[in-house]
């Protein structure tokens, strides 16, 4: 995710193979191979032999393979990223904060509940966007998450990962949390 696109510092990068683009082309090609291999493992009943469940998957695999090769050729000829995009080095610290927030959110949402996981996500993302006021972000994030949580529970009847914070508040105001 923190891949740098091509060699940004080299002014002649246009004519040289572009690494970022090549990796993407290779990725598409790899997806084609996986798709091909997975398509062949789908059992085909003779009743549907004419256009069975593998025909469209195989066509998709072929298309992805062709496109992957075309992308690799493009990458070999210097890539397609605009000069403007090439000149930008992604802000890795910012990306890392956002990714950390997402990972922590997945890890915690089951055990700690939606509000706590969301508050941590909120703080991490805000931090990634350059906010330094962690306490304020945490309070806003918690309020936002609680409003969203009860909004979903009451209007849509969907229960999203309640933890002890949600249960405590539901107990306090006597709301049946679904």
């Amino acid at each position: 995710m923190t891949m740098t696109g091509g060699s940004a510092e080299d002014p002649n990068a246009r004519s040289r193979p572009a690494i970022g683009e090549a990796i993407i082309g290779a990725g598409v090609l790899a997806l084609a191979i996986v798709t091909f291999w997975q398509s062949l493992s789908i059992p085909v009943s003779p009743i549907y032999a004419k256009v069975g469940p593998t025909v469209v998957p195989l066509m998709t695999a072929a298309a992805l393979g062709l496109l992957g090769i075309l992308l690799l050729i493009d990458a070999w000829q210097g890539g397609w990223q605009t000069e403007e995009e090439k000149a930008v080095t992604p802000d890795r610290a910012a990306l890392l904060w956002v990714v950390a927030g997402l990972v922590l959110n997945v890890a915690l949402i089951g055990s700690a509940g939606f509000t706590i996981a969301s508050t941590i996500l909120f703080v991490c993302v805000a931090r990634g966007f350059g906010s330094n006021n962690t306490l304020r972000d945490a309070l806003i994030g918690a309020a936002f998450a609680l409003i969203a949580y009860f909004g979903f529970v009451t209007t849509l009847g969907i229960n999203i990962g309640s933890g002890f914070v949600e249960s405590a508040i539901e107990g306090l105001i006597g709301l049946e949390g679904g």
Binding site: M3, V56, G101, S118
Partner: protein, 503 residues
Amino acid sequence: MDAFSELLNGFAVALTPMNLLWCLVGTTLGTAIGVLPGLGPALTIALLLPITFKVESTAAFILFAGIYYGAMYGGSTTSILLNTPGESATIVTALEGNKMARNGRAGAALATAAIGSFVAGTIGTLGITFLAPVVVDWALRFGPADYFSLMVFAFVTVSAVLGSSAVRGLATLFFGIWLGLIGVDLQTGQARFTFGLAELLDGINVIVVAVGLFAVGETLYVASRYRLGKDEIVPLSGSLWMTAEEWRRSWKPWLRGAAIGFPIGAMPAGGAEIPTFLSYYVERKLSAKPQEFGKGAIEGVAGPEAANNASAAGVLVPMLTLGLPTSATAAIMLSAFQSYGINPGPLLLQSQPQLVWGLIASLFIGNVMLLVLNLPLIAIWVKLLQIPAPLLYAGILVFATIGTYGITQSPVDLILLYLIGGAGYLMRRYDFPVAPVIIGMILGPLAEQNFRQAMTISAGDWTVFFTRPLSATILALAALALFGPKLYQLAVRPKPDHVPGDA
């Protein structure tokens, strides 16, 4: 006159207090998300898809249509005041609109955008009213082979014609088709590409994909370059009342914009970018003062804004009459139809007249609401632009999590959401269009279904797609669309880069 009486029935549906309320909620929400950078109608409607389990179909579609139209109005405000187009379709508006705002004529730019949107939106909705029954008559003759060819045509146009590169557009399209293949094949009951995960048997939810691409991917992309530059909000300036000269210079571009936007939107090619660019070039050609273009020419705001809204209306024609979505937002609306068990297509007008005509009538009403929301109340929306980016994007990600985790409470969905978000980030960074993923994912399974039906009817004869005259014609057009863009790109430059909240 038949359409007219049907439309009157539609007004009876749309004017009930509850439906008016849904329309108001939709248009208000749509304007808000249109104004906010990083949020778009596709993402918002995807997040709201769970209401299809709670709310009856007419109300839900009135809400969605309000969001769809509202986002077009709201997007222009952001383009004019922030120079960061809120929607891909409002890139052109930023060219002249932001210059006008910097020259102290923000009021006039916002007014001509809003009134132009209203005029063109109303003309476009009238266009739907009278064109939809005609298309339906024609589409009733379609067999599965013709449908399949039509979908191939739509695939080509949305991925190869609209983007900057046919190869990259088709790559994301096939990625979307691949995502759509995941799960149990409904005809044979075989699991495809599930990699042994029980969670994937039902397929990947479109909410996960749309939210991953438009919310997570977008946030990662903005985060990766946020500190590089600050957008500057131009304060509201100048009267919202246009002068006589501004009216005189605006009304023709509005009408021309509508005339350009609606037909292009209504073609099974879709996309609001081509009509807005086309309108811009037409206005610059026809202008008595072409030297003002690039410095804040009001025609350059009035025409493209009208074209944008008229094409948004046009996109609804193939969606409602053929079940053919040509934008990410329309694709997500199609999945809302599917979640009600309704199949959009030529029979929709007969089987669900309440829904279709109620929806169309609500578009007329929504346009009036949007004019009021976006002119007298403009100051409220400008306040939204002042939400600090850290809080805005943190909020977007928390909401994205709720929307996804709320469906199944499965961590697998969250992991998928973030993986697709990562893919979305790479697509943005490496100039891959995102909308074809959604369209491929929704339309792919339908194309496969029609393909297999056609093949079953023809007893396995592949030539059926080339021997039926209609199907052959459409496939020929698709081939033309695939190889024609090279010529088109030579004629129309410059091409837009990437834009947040691509609709």
